[in-house]
Amino acid sequence: MSNTNNVAERSAKETQSLVQASLARRYRAERRFRAYGLAAVLAGIGFVVFLFGTIFSQGLSVFQQSYVKLTIQYDSETIDPSGARNPDDLVTADYQALIRAALRERFPTVEGRPNLRELYALVSSAASIELQRRVVEDPTVIGQRETLWLLADDTVDMLLKDKVSRTAAEDERRLSDQQIGWIDELVREDRLALRFNRAFFSNGDSRDPEQAGVRGALIGSALTLLITLLLSFPIGVGAAVYLEEFAPCNRITDIIEVNINNLAAVPSIVFGLLGLAMFIGVFGLPRSAPLVGGFVLTLLTLPTIIIASRAALKAVPPSIREAALGMGASRLQMVGHHVLPLAMPGMLTGAIIGMARALGESAPLLMIGMVAFIVEVPAGVVDPATALPVQVFLWSDLPERGFVERTSGAIIVLLGFLLVMNATAVVLRNKFEKRW
């Protein structure tokens, strides 16, 4: 008896010493494991910070743009030699000449063709369009002098924003030493400065970075999303109501449910293929149109909205349904009068999140041709258009330094909209979420 006791005691002691001996190692392993976890979390947050930091540091400067202050003489000989003020003549007049004259007036010592060409290159070609607009709007300015802030060329803009090097060898820069000298002179005189960039929000696409804006893409996105919302919200809610409240338990219902779950994970580009083959190939709808984009994004967001709406319907307690049915309501009245209003905030949240996803989507839009270079702002749902994320894609491909800034700027606008949408969804959920 005592013998076995001894053995047990000894083995217990052995175990204890074994455990003691290994404790330090095990605690080290514990700390290491915990450190891995923390490192992973920090890495994740680091990526978020780095991503947003890069985009914002590259793109925030887009909201300012270089303008040059010039005193323009609206020379009637150049604009309208006949003096008839014929609107067609006013439109086609050589406004570039006015700007050239103003530049020569400011720098009278510059002579010779190559030098003058370098001088003229400081001002954007969009500046003459601005002058044309002013003259056509109000022909009485002809013959007068006016001091204006005119858009500078994107090379000047990049220099002012310190995005290009001043010290690189001259033939590796797009601005010569002479031009930089003029720019510095203008800056000293406060004739060249960064001002709020209105053109970025009021212009369509352009090949010149300083003129390119996001308005066309924004309107295109808005039209596309409008179609998407109008179609996907009613259909999504209808489908969710059917599946939660009416569907009998049978094979067809099963098939529908499995289908929705699988559709939610189909790559978005496949929806683009569907849109190309079906809507454009079979039904003959126009290419590049927000209408087709809206159709494709509807199919893409439907699963998201259906799944969110079903969750919202599930959250409504059965007692509400039983009470309504007990009072003699029909199933449809029970759903329409009681369940739907209670589930609506959840459904709206789902819809907003679905719309946010649709806003960021670009691959299916590439497939249906919403990827063309389009200068005009679209006026309707069948006009050729592009969308904000596609605009980002298009600009990111262009080699000019100015477009890197534009791309980041468009991304900031896009992220801003996504932030607003998601914040609305969160607020909606927090405000109306009920715990039964």
Binding site: V270, V392, L414
Partner: protein, 462 residues
């Protein structure tokens, strides 16, 4: 009468029908006092009337509009000169294009041939006739529906049941859209893919190792239809997805473990949404990030180590895609870890296990099927991801396992083959659909497996 006005008219007629039906039901009941004798509320009679008035009219309207243009074009074409009708397909399309532009007022009449001008005049005339007859037809159908239901309204007409049945069918129709979408995807892709496989044998597509899809400029240029061996694309896709998973799985899994098991509640509440921000960022943003920041940085790093890094390396695309996928892995893993019952952890602690030992040997093992399902979903996501690879991966179909070289993927090729104006029947465009079919099937398979595994796992602890 333009279609939009007609549409407004249909809506107005339905509103009128609602009022008529409602008034009729009150009248047959013998005034407001008799309403109790009606089977349904007066509004239900109104709704039933409105549905039978508006729905058939709308149906006629939509069917007519969808066919109108094709029918008119065919009629106009049959009246055009014989030599126009016998033109080859491509030139005929040009004539029709002129015709459409002339009708829409995009070009001046003197810019096209006289025959086209005459055809355009006929087109306009036919269009006017068609719109007028459509208006008449739609209104007749609408009014007929209205009158028919109105005549049927009696106190014992079960208006509510009839109306609700229609609504229920409509709701069923909404949920059937999902099935039709799948059907549409399968049909459109399979149809085009089969046409592709008629030109290029399936075996060459699946096992061929040479990918250079040249556009055939003329139909008789057989030689320039290029090589369509898709293996390099599959290799490239797998390489980039593999790199993405190497980034995403450890970071996603470890951050899920830390947030679920170690982090205090306050920290978890802040960090979890922060990580999920990564899932909400549009993929073009990641693509831009890969091109302008990660790619150049990798090249500089490679140069300093003496390694040649391609401008559009698989590594850059894979790394950035991995960052994008982190939140998918972490939130799914988080769900699975929190679903493991506390009793299992308590049992392990009682036996003297440390926290990390509990997690590694108990929690993770219990959650493993769910985590595997989540990883499968993430892989399917990586394979189907488009924008990042379109922007950051290359176009050259290299068959390599070296992440520093440029590779191309299935999605990149689909985009490159289909962006821009193309004929629908060249093997080049059809190849995109064949690739789409492969993509669809592979992601579908991964999803079905993943959903099955996850569901099985959830049932285990419920």
């Amino acid at each position: 009468m333009s279609p939009s006005i007609l549409f407004v008219l249909i809506v107005a007629l339905s509103v009128l029908a609602f009022q008529v039906g409602k008034a009729r039901s009150i009248a047959v009941a013998g005034g407001l006092r008799g309403i109790r004798d009606l089977h349904s509320l007066p509004g239900h009679y109104g709704l039933l009337t409105a549905i039978w008035c508006g729905l058939p009219a709308l149906l006629v309207f939509l069917v007519w509009l969808s066919m109108q243009e094709a029918v008119i074009l065919r009629l106009v074409l049959s009246h055009m000169p014989a030599e126009t009708q016998t033109l080859p397909q491509a030139q005929l399309a040009l004539v029709l294009n002129d015709l459409r532009n002339l009708v829409a007022g995009n070009i001046r009449p003197d810019m096209v041939a006289p025959a086209t001008r005459a055809a355009a005049a006929e087109y306009l005339q036919l269009q006017a006739i068609a719109q007028l007859s459509l208006a008449v037809l739609v209104l007749v159908v609408g009014v007929a529906g209205l009158l028919l239901v109105r005549a049927k309204i009696r106190p014992d007409l079960r208006a509510r049941n009839a109306y609700e049945r229609v609504i229920e069918w409509a709701l069923f129709g909404c949920s059937a859209v999902a099935v039709f979408t799948t059907l549409g995807i399968v049909l459109s892709i399979v149809f085009e893919a089969v046409r592709f496989f008629n030109i290029v044998p399936v075996t060459e597509f699946v096992f061929g190792t040479n990918w250079s899809p040249q556009m055939a400029i003329r139909a008789d240029q057989v030689g320039s239809s290029g090589a369509f061996g898709a293996v390099p694309l599959f290799v490239g896709t797998l390489l980039i997805s593999f790199i993405a998973m190497i980034v995403a799985v450890p970071i996603g899994l470890f951050s899920a473990i830390y947030l679920a098991e170690y982090a205090p509640l306050g920290l978890r509440k802040i960090v979890k949404p922060l990580l999920e921000v990564l899932a909400g960022v549009p993929t073009v943003v990641y693509g831009f990030f890969a091109v302008t920041t990660v790619g150049p940085a990798l090249r500089v790093a490679g140069e300093s180590l003496g390694l040649p890094v391609a401008g559009e390396s698989a590594l850059a695309a894979g790394l950035v895609m991995g960052i994008m996928i982190i939140p998918f892995v972490s939130s799914l893993a988080d769900d699975m870890i929190t679903a493991v019952p506390q009793s299992l952890r308590d049992g392990a602690y009682a036996l003297g296990a440390t926290r990390s030992e509990t997690i590694r040997q108990v929690v993770l093992r219990a959650a493993l099927p769910g985590i595997v399902g989540g990883v499968l979903l993430a892989i399917s996501r990586a394979i189907g991801e488009t924008m990042i690879v379109v922007m950051a991966a290359g176009l050259s179909a290299n068959m390599t396992a070296n992440p520093l070289e440029a590779v191309t993927t299935v999605t990149v090729q689909i985009v490159t083959l289909l962006v821009g104006d193309q004929e629908f029947d060249s093997p080049k465009t059809l190849a995109a659909f064949a690739l789409g079919l492969v993509l669809f099937l592979v992601t579908l398979l991964l999803n079905v497996i993943a959903l099955y595994v996850v569901r099985k796992y959830r049932e285990q602890y419920e």
